[in-house]
């Protein structure tokens, strides 16, 4: 078991991000975390990354507390950012100097494939910044990738490029946990989907199972969360 959450509740000052959440994540899965705004997707991913600590319950990732294993996972947050003066080359210097698992050849390939301009991020559009951050994230060779809304606020063409690179870059022994609103676009990517509503798991199903029942992920999304 790559990661486990057991009875996890995360309480903020007045609200709860997730409530009594229990989830097992196996190796090599592509897991989609779907839900409306405020359903707990970001909280779940941040708990797995070790950016947040549970109020009650336990989180174990790669055999221990996630923060201790932070060098063995990748977290791409929705709101985290690079420095405005950073160019792709500076980003490479940053990542290569801090992460042993960073692969520069893969990074250059991804930069070309995602058509990231060689400029400072302050001179990039939001889509270009998102693509650069994704290139940095996917250039690391780890067992667990946590991607929080990697498609949010990004133009259609960039989204297509990102999804294609995700499909290309996925290795059979790596696990990807991805949260998104763009359910329809990401549908083909997921092996398993977890629907969150109000911080709880509303449905946890294999995509194949859904297809056998003749339902698409999008339809299930509407059914479960409408």
């Amino acid at each position: 078991m790559l990661a486990q959450l057991r009875g996890v509740t995360k309480r903020y000052v007045k609200t709860e991000g997730v409530r009594d959440l229990t989830l097992d994540i196996e190796e090599g899965q592509v897991l989609g975390v779907l839900g409306l705004n405020g359903s707990g997707k970001t909280t779940l991913l941040k708990l797995l990354a070790g950016l947040l600590f549970p109020t009650t319950g336990e989180v174990a990732v790669l055999g221990g507390p996630p923060r201790k294993n932070r060098s063995r996972l990748v977290f791409l947050g929705e709101t985290d950012e690079l420095y405005s003066w950073m160019t792709p080359t500076a980003g490479e210097r940053f990542a290569a100097g801090l992460y042993e698992d960073f692969r520069p050849e893969r990074y250059h390939e991804l930069l070309d494939f995602l058509e990231v301009p060689r400029r400072k991020t302050k001179a990039m559009s939001r889509g270009e910044r998102g693509r650069l951050r994704l290139a940095l994230a996917l250039s690391r060779d780890v067992k667990l990738y946590l991607l929080d809304e990697p498609l949010a606020g990004i133009d259609l063409l960039s989204r297509e490029r990102i999804l294609t690179s995700l499909v290309r870059e996925w290795h059979t022994d790596a696990t990807i946990v991805l949260s998104t609103h763009e359910v329809a676009e990401a549908e083909g990517l997921f092996e398993r989907v977890v629907f969150l509503r109000d911080g709880r798991v509303a449905l946890d199903a294999r995509a194949e199972g859904l297809r056998e029942e003749g339902r698409s992920v999008v339809e299930t999304f509407r059914e479960v969360l409408a």
Binding site: Y12, V13, K46, A49, G50, L51, L52, F53, R67, R70, S71, F75, G77, T79, D80, E81, L82, Y83, W85, A90, R93, F94, G97, L98, Y99, E100
Partner: protein
């Protein structure tokens, strides 16, 4: 310590504009010194020394602001990225402190040089030993006992306040720490005064006191007399250095333990 070099590089890239402006401001202070055109050379020297004193204080404030921009990174999301990098919080804090300290050392050594220039203009020509005291001993004493503690306190303040970012207004920890510090500092300084002068004191600026006496007697003298100068206690330096290390270590530990 893997990653320290990269974090130091990061701090340099992040702060080089600030550091350049900070060091460049010395040109402004030098220009200011040149603007003092009072006839009486002793008064002129006195005003200029005061200006250098102001430059020292302003420099400290600027350095603290430079290292304190850590807070801005929590709002713009870089802090969260850094929290998940492999190096420990101690290494992150150390990299920032080392960069600010390096900039500070250059600044205060040059200020020492400016004092030398002021003295030369007043007809006071210190010997090599006194020059070394101006350029090295004095600045390093000041850096160790004043600048580094302030920098460490600023880092601790920023990291401590950021620890509460997710749980409500972070002005509460800011206010508590800023309000509580003067009282804690008063008790610490009372303690320092009590233990001072137990270790052998250092004689500093010996040549200058004799020379200033000579200058006050209106004798333009090129002869340098070295003798016992002000006796400066060692204890404050070591105690403040130790406190700085403790504050930086606590800041590093908090970094390890906080949520993003």
């Amino acid at each position: 310590m893997r990653g320290f070099k990269t974090l130091l590089w990061l701090e340099y890239r992040r702060s080089r504009v600030w550091a350049a402006a900070f060091l460049g401001s010395l040109a402004f202070w030098f220009w200011g010194l040149n603007q003092v055109t009072v006839r009486d050379f002793a008064e002129r020297a006195g005003i200029r020394v005061a200006i250098v004193g102001v430059a020292a204080a302003v420099g400290l404030v600027v350095l603290c602001f430079m290292i304190g921009r850590l807070r801005g990174e929590t709002r713009h999301g870089q802090y969260q990225v850094l929290l998940l990098t492999p190096p420990s919080g101690y290494v992150h804090v150390l990299a920032r402190a080392v960069f600010a300290l390096a900039a500070g050392i250059v600044y205060y050594v040059i200020l020492g040089g400016l004092l030398w220039w002021v003295a030369a203009r007043a007809g006071i020509h210190p010997d090599a030993g006194s020059v070394l005291q101006l350029l090295l001993a004095g600045p390093f004493y000041g850096i160790g006992s004043v600048v580094l503690p302030f920098l460490s306190w600023t880092v601790l303040l920023m990291v401590f306040s950021s620890a509460f970012r997710l749980s409500g207004p972070s002005w509460i920890p800011g206010i508590v720490m800023v309000a509580g510090t003067p009282f804690l500092f008063r008790w610490i300084s009372e303690g320092i005064v009590n233990v001072s002068y137990r270790l052998p004191a250092w004689s500093m600026f010996g040549g200058f006191t004799r020379l200033i006496e000579a200058a006050e007697m209106d004798i333009e003298t090129e002869v340098v007399i070295t003798s016992q100068g002000a006796l400066v206690p060692q204890e404050p330096l070591w105690i403040m250095l130790a406190l700085s290390v403790v504050m930086l270590a606590i800041a590093g530990r908090i970094w390890q333990e906080v949520e993003g």
